[in-house]
């Protein structure tokens, strides 16, 4: 059973690596398109460096993500409590999504300086909207019958929120958290690109810029893959959490 589950994606990976190797061999310009083995070598050679960068990017993305979760869920909870609040604030939440975060990043750096703080804020801005949007959708989708049932036996908004609306919204909250997991890492990399040259010993994004300038393409690819793995790890942790919270009752997780 387990093997049957893991086998198909592994097969795809092997095929992908084979095509990549072949392509690199035919193209035969290692400094532009290194094969997977060359990338692996670069990764091992600069392992210490890559892990150092990963650690920094991890922290930036994690703080950005946690802030986005806290702010996003609080904001959604407040909007869910009143039509007027929702109508007043939701349009601006949408602007957060349409805002070209990459273009705003330089401004953030001007305001908050060439350091980690700015990167965290950029990561926060990029990962915030899906959390607000999905949480709000979940909090507003409570079955009317259940709302009436609660209304008959307890009038407290607090009870209604924590015993009914919030648990009912968890599938949506998890959906939002999953989208934002990858976005928080993307945000951290974007932030690092902007502060790039101005910082010492930065994270993966900073290293990508330096490695690119040195035409160290294998290292660039190794760094990209490391950043991808980081986003994937965030995603997986949220998925495990989602499974833990939903496996007893929600269609999406019932085996």
């Amino acid at each position: 059973m387990e093997i049957k589950k893991i086998l198909p994606p592994i097969l795809v990976l092997i095929i992908f690596l084979a095509i990549w190797s072949l392509g690199a061999k035919i193209y035969d310009m290692a400094f532009l398109l290194p094969g997977p083995l060359t990338v692996a070598e670069a990764f091992i050679k600069d392992f210490q460096l890559v892990i150092g960068g990963l650690w920094i990017t991890f922290q930036e993305a994690l703080y950005g993500y946690l802030l986005a979760i806290t702010i996003g869920m609080t904001f959604a909870a407040i909007m869910s409590q009143s039509r007027i609040l929702e109508r007043s604030f939701y349009p601006y939440a949408i602007l957060l999504q349409t805002l070209p975060a990459v273009a705003v990043a330089p401004l953030i750096v001007l305001w908050f300086g060439f350091d980690m703080q700015s990167v965290v804020i950029i990561s926060l801005i990029i990962s915030l909207f899906p959390i607000i949007n999905n949480t709000l959708l979940g909090l507003k989708s409570t079955s009317i019958t259940l709302v009436e049932l609660f209304q008959m036996h307890n009038q407290s908004r607090f009870v209604n929120f924590f015993k009914l609306r919030l648990p009912a919204a968890i599938p949506n909250v998890i959906a939002g958290l999953r989208i934002s997991a990858g976005l928080s890492v993307i945000g951290a990399i974007v932030g690092e690109f902007i502060i790039g040259s101005g910082s010492e010993g930065g994270g993966l994004g900073v290293m990508i810029i330096y490695a690119q300038a040195d035409l160290e393409t294998p290292l660039v690819i190794a760094l990209i893959l490391t950043a991808t793995a980081l986003g994937f790890a965030f995603f997986s942790i949220v998925s495990v959490l989602g499974h833990y919270l939903l496996h007893n009752w929600h269609e999406s997780e019932i085996a």
Binding site: T145, L146, E148, L149, M152, H153, K163, A168, W249, H250
Partner: protein, 239 residues
């Protein structure tokens, strides 16, 4: 006694209920039947206090406690059977020890012992409805309002559940108001059957049901079938 006096309900242009007057004695079981859209569910919701009438008023005894059984059982899918039965007591701040005690006896009463840790999605339609009944009855309500509770279970389960509802009511004598499409069910369970007309909903007939003993044999008695046919005839008149 629950008194419904002059209750009307308008939804925008739709006149759903028109001057309903009805007194329900304490401990009485009444059933409201009527064609779809006659406002019988709306009336029940107004009595429950989850809908407001456009005119008229409802009088219930001071400090009387009610419970509502919804058509779709209205369980919390993320709570197991035990925690679903506890829900309303939790909302009414019954303390933990008392809750657990009551849950045990309530589950026994509706034949769900052994399913404490199951989740609603693992239960059949009939079991969900039993759970929903247990959840309401643990509150020891003075009155129980039921909105087509058996409309989504199969015929056989339906009859079994009718018998169970009758037993529960016969033991505790909570005032009961049932809304249903099923005339046989109405006759089987009630002291009185209230027949309503199509929109705007008005009470057109009140039929007393005289049977003392309600068991499976009742269903094949001539007097029973005659009453069912009489009331069905009244309903058919509008088709």
């Amino acid at each position: 006694m629950i008194s419904v006096s002059g209750v009307s309900k308008l939804f925008d242009e739709i006149h759903a209920l028109d001057l309903i007057d009805l007194d329900i004695a304490t401990g009485e079981f009444i059933t409201i039947v009527g064609p779809s859209g006659c406002g019988k569910s709306t009336l029940l919701r107004i009595i429950a206090g989850i809908a407001t009438p456009t005119g008229g008023s409802i009088k219930k005894p001071d400090a009387s406690k009610g419970a509502f059984v919804f058509q779709d059982a209205a369980l919390l899918p993320w709570r197991n059977v035990q925690n679903n039965v506890e829900l309303l007591m939790e909302l009414e701040s019954v303390d933990k020890a008392e809750r657990e005690e009551k849950v045990r006896s309530a589950l026994q009463q509706v034949g769900l012992e052994g399913f404490e840790k199951s989740y609603p999605h693992q239960l059949s339609g009939g079991m969900k409805m039993r759970l929903s009944l247990a959840r309401s009855l643990v509150l020891r309500p003075d009155y129980l309002l039921m909105d087509e509770p058996l409309s989504s279970v199969d015929e056989l389960t339906r009859e079994v559940l009718q018998e169970e509802i009758h037993t529960l009511w016969n033991n505790d004598k909570f005032t009961s108001i049932l809304v249903t499409h099923n005339v046989a069910e109405a006759v089987y369970l009630s002291n009185r059957v209230i027949v309503m007309s199509p929109r705007p909903g008005r009470i057109t007939h009140i039929v007393d049901i005289p049977f003392k003993k309600r068991d499976r044999n009742l269903r094949s008695e001539t007097a029973y079938t005659k009453l069912v046919n009489d009331i069905s005839g009244k309903l058919r008149a509008w088709k």
